[in-house]
Symmetry: C2
Subunit: 617 residues, 2 copies
Amino acid sequence: MLEAGTFYRENQSCLFRVWAPLCKQMVLHLVSPEDKEIEMTPQAGGYFVADIPNLPVSTLYYYRPDNQQDYPDPASHFQPEGVHRPSKVVNHHSFSWTDQAWRGIPAESLVIYELHVGTFTQEGTFEAIIPRLQDLKELGITALQLMPVAQFPGNRNWGYDGAYPYAVQDSYGGPEGLKKLVDGAHANGMAVILDVVYNHLGPEGNYFHAFGPYFSETYKTPWGKAVNFDEAYSDGVRDYFANNAVFWSRYYHIDGLRLDAIHEIFDRGAVHFWEYVGQKLRRESMRTGRKCWLIAESDLNDPKVIRSNDTGGFGFDAQWLDDFHHALYVLIHEGGKERYADFGAIHQLQKAYEAGYVHSGEFVKARQRKFGKSSAGISGEHFIVFNQNHDQIGNRIYGERLSMLVDFDALKIAAGALLVSPYIPMLFMGEEYGDETPFYYFVSHSDEELIKMVCKGRKEEFSAFGNCDDAPEPHDISTFKKSVIAWDIARKGKHKILRDWFKKLLRLRKTHPALQSLNKNHIWCNVAGQNGLALYRRSEGEQHLLLALFNFGPETVKYTLPAGTKWGMLLNSDDPCWQADFNGAEPATAADDVKKTVSVKPLQFIILEQQNQDITN
Amino acid sequence: MLEAGTFYRENQSCLFRVWAPLCKQMVLHLVSPEDKEIEMTPQAGGYFVADIPNLPVSTLYYYRPDNQQDYPDPASHFQPEGVHRPSKVVNHHSFSWTDQAWRGIPAESLVIYELHVGTFTQEGTFEAIIPRLQDLKELGITALQLMPVAQFPGNRNWGYDGAYPYAVQDSYGGPEGLKKLVDGAHANGMAVILDVVYNHLGPEGNYFHAFGPYFSETYKTPWGKAVNFDEAYSDGVRDYFANNAVFWSRYYHIDGLRLDAIHEIFDRGAVHFWEYVGQKLRRESMRTGRKCWLIAESDLNDPKVIRSNDTGGFGFDAQWLDDFHHALYVLIHEGGKERYADFGAIHQLQKAYEAGYVHSGEFVKARQRKFGKSSAGISGEHFIVFNQNHDQIGNRIYGERLSMLVDFDALKIAAGALLVSPYIPMLFMGEEYGDETPFYYFVSHSDEELIKMVCKGRKEEFSAFGNCDDAPEPHDISTFKKSVIAWDIARKGKHKILRDWFKKLLRLRKTHPALQSLNKNHIWCNVAGQNGLALYRRSEGEQHLLLALFNFGPETVKYTLPAGTKWGMLLNSDDPCWQADFNGAEPATAADDVKKTVSVKPLQFIILEQQNQDITN
């Protein structure tokens, strides 16, 4: 119920509240501008509070539990000097929001662009993103998704080592910078989704142990002890994280949260943590009128994740559909089989389109067990699909993007497969123009032991997939610098062509009635041989029918079109204007008539449109 | 899919199948009557098989995985020489079942009698129980529930240290003995429920590690590593335990399983283990026509346990309702507050009657967290209630039954509270006549270290509740012998009176229309002061209304009866015939007229019946 943190009021007083249920005493140590110690007052639920009038907003402070030593605030809103130094009070009333007219966007209009703040621009800040919003908007992007921005050690990190879930990374521009970016995105009609991590806390700068039983002895995660969501004293831990979800909506106007690896959150309690988070967010939404989506990264293939609480589900609005990636990737990249031994059949892509999860109960070699449950019938807005994301790229020892693994035609067919899907598509920064910068794994810990462990761990993890001798050192600053994307090349040559291809597909997706319905009654597929797929998309009113034809193989595939209807060509990846070396003007595609059979060449992608209403299907 | 175990056929051949997914080789070592080694054949799913024609049914055997050493069969049906010695082939076709006409009983007619085979009779065998069935039937019992009978080390154990889930304890009489008991129970119109343990395996005689990855590294239980229900190779483990559930129904005609501590079974998989077990049992039931209830011991207070799979539940038919016990016990025993600090208010008993779980989301001191979810509206046949069970008695260092803690009137009101409840009642052996034998904790391990650990562990566990210096030693044979119940005293004095009281209440429960409906629309309560409770039970057709009046306090409670109706007295615990020293003939209660107010004395329990239809509620 109670919230931990600092609550700076318009009358310049500030309430400090910290949760430390096993501590007898708590001192608030103001260190700047004035050095002062204040004994805090215990409150029900294991909290300590101090209410300080006339507090300078630049105040830096520590907490001192049970007279041990000074620690930063676990619920700090800002760590201007990093994870080991004092916390800073933030006045959330001082920012001048201009997004009063922002009403959000419907889930089915989402086109997400995942970016890493540190490597999206040379500056590596929130503010440096703002000038690029117009460009993304023109492309057809409707939501940014920021990799985690919670304070992490040093100034280079993917963000999953954050140790202050409420503090906005200082080197990215801190709280003020993030607010400016969100306000700017809303001004451009774009939502902002934030990646947050509730399944573990980063190893460096993590002083949680001094405050309370944040960790469980019962469950283990790949990163060590699991967070305590269901044992003694878990109420405070649950509130700490659930309030964090509300915090981003309330103070930063964030439109959605992407919850990292929800399968590593263990909760046997009768009210599951995700149900609790959902309840809190709905209450906040009622108050503010702002919706905040909950998006899961889930390795469960369990429809429970996206089912409502009423029907025993976790109640997520959507989840990442990794199976779509795997099914598609292995079809276009020969080497994909090494990583995804259980994928590679064309009917798996069909299943990904028609049902969602590809693994829905069958034995999966990589897991050595039966895995998943059918998601057939679940509407498409509950799934987010992608051809690449930070993990699929960065969790390769050499950080190769798809553009570094497959050729131009494969990039085009992959983009087509993504953007005609009945799901919410997500791009990874630079994907739209085929950026060829690697996305390496990088850190900037200050703990030497930790640095060694990270390097060793990465090499061990990836040694199965090839030689790791030349692997970039995560801690080397050049590893980070080499990962900064090459935004400017998007204006030139094949990069411009690819970007135009994405833009064309996104416009079609936005405007064509047959691509609007994410209801699974309006989509079906036929496979043709080992490598061909025909995907039908029908509009809600059944007046419009699109047919996307794919050929992922090395031989031409012949499709016989359904009888009794005329088809026009809407898009053809083999048109001269979509070739990497095309030099002409703005590409245009005429709606040609199509005969009864269509030959689709290797890696060709075609969209046909029904021209009359005689189709019986 | 595949089942591990031995399958002796009517043609005297026998299929041996063992699961050992990481083993390269498996030898079947027949040790008697003939000594012979047979190399087994690997099968899909990590199994090895050998099909032996003309096998003597008395055959003893071991398995030898990867040429290490001989071990008994983890899926052994019989360990005639204990947990460390060879397994024995069992011919399940040889028993002559006489229960062809047995059709089971409806759940709402269940009155369960929990018993421990070793201490229910002097003999401590299945067969010795059979002569007592008639007596239990006359009392009103409709189902036996046997504490676990899976082979455990030595010959004295509660059963929760079993290391062979498929083998029937040799000292109880083995497979033949259990079949005779079940057949005898069915002949007496009684069902048999078996307590089974799938959350851990006993420490002694547990050779599972030699065969496969039965245990998980991710979760911990109070007894060590959790069973692997969701990680690599878990398919074989899931089948091992799920097939065990089917096994009892198929070969022993068991009518229900009581699943021990289901909250210690961890499964993140999309098809939860309980859903999987339910599927298998339903399939078996379709085949045989025999139903097998699934009853959970759950420490979750989560209605998901008893909700159907369709609505995201585990699909148990029923679960133990510990909260009913705690709520009632603390009201009748002053010392109860020590163990159940979160109980003791009369409205908690009201909530237990009306809704089920007493803790449904509130903060619980003993757990230091919010606990549970409401079970309001869930029909009563999904809950099993008791005033005592093996845990509530035996998990006291001195093993005191209720009869050793409270006086005769308190036993009577407790029986009344239990048997007018809208739930399935369960008695613990001897409870019906107020047996005063303790039910101690006893073991007969052969491992000295283990024996010391058990003694130390028990003392540590219970030291919070008083002096443990005189605690009986679990391993001492006299501890076991002192726990054998004093069945014969049921014929005499106060024991006979109490037994008659139970019998009277059970007859009323069976015959009175107002006690038939377990639907929560037909029950409600009013509390009167700190210690009085009025419980209304209405029949399905609303023609009959009972009113049970309780006084758990030291002062008389006056109840004003609803106006506009006449009430007759059905049962009064203060009648001379229900006094501990009553010497008269078979007791009889006249349906007296009752006036507008009723005074209920301390620990008095009264049942009134509505005499006309004018009541407005």
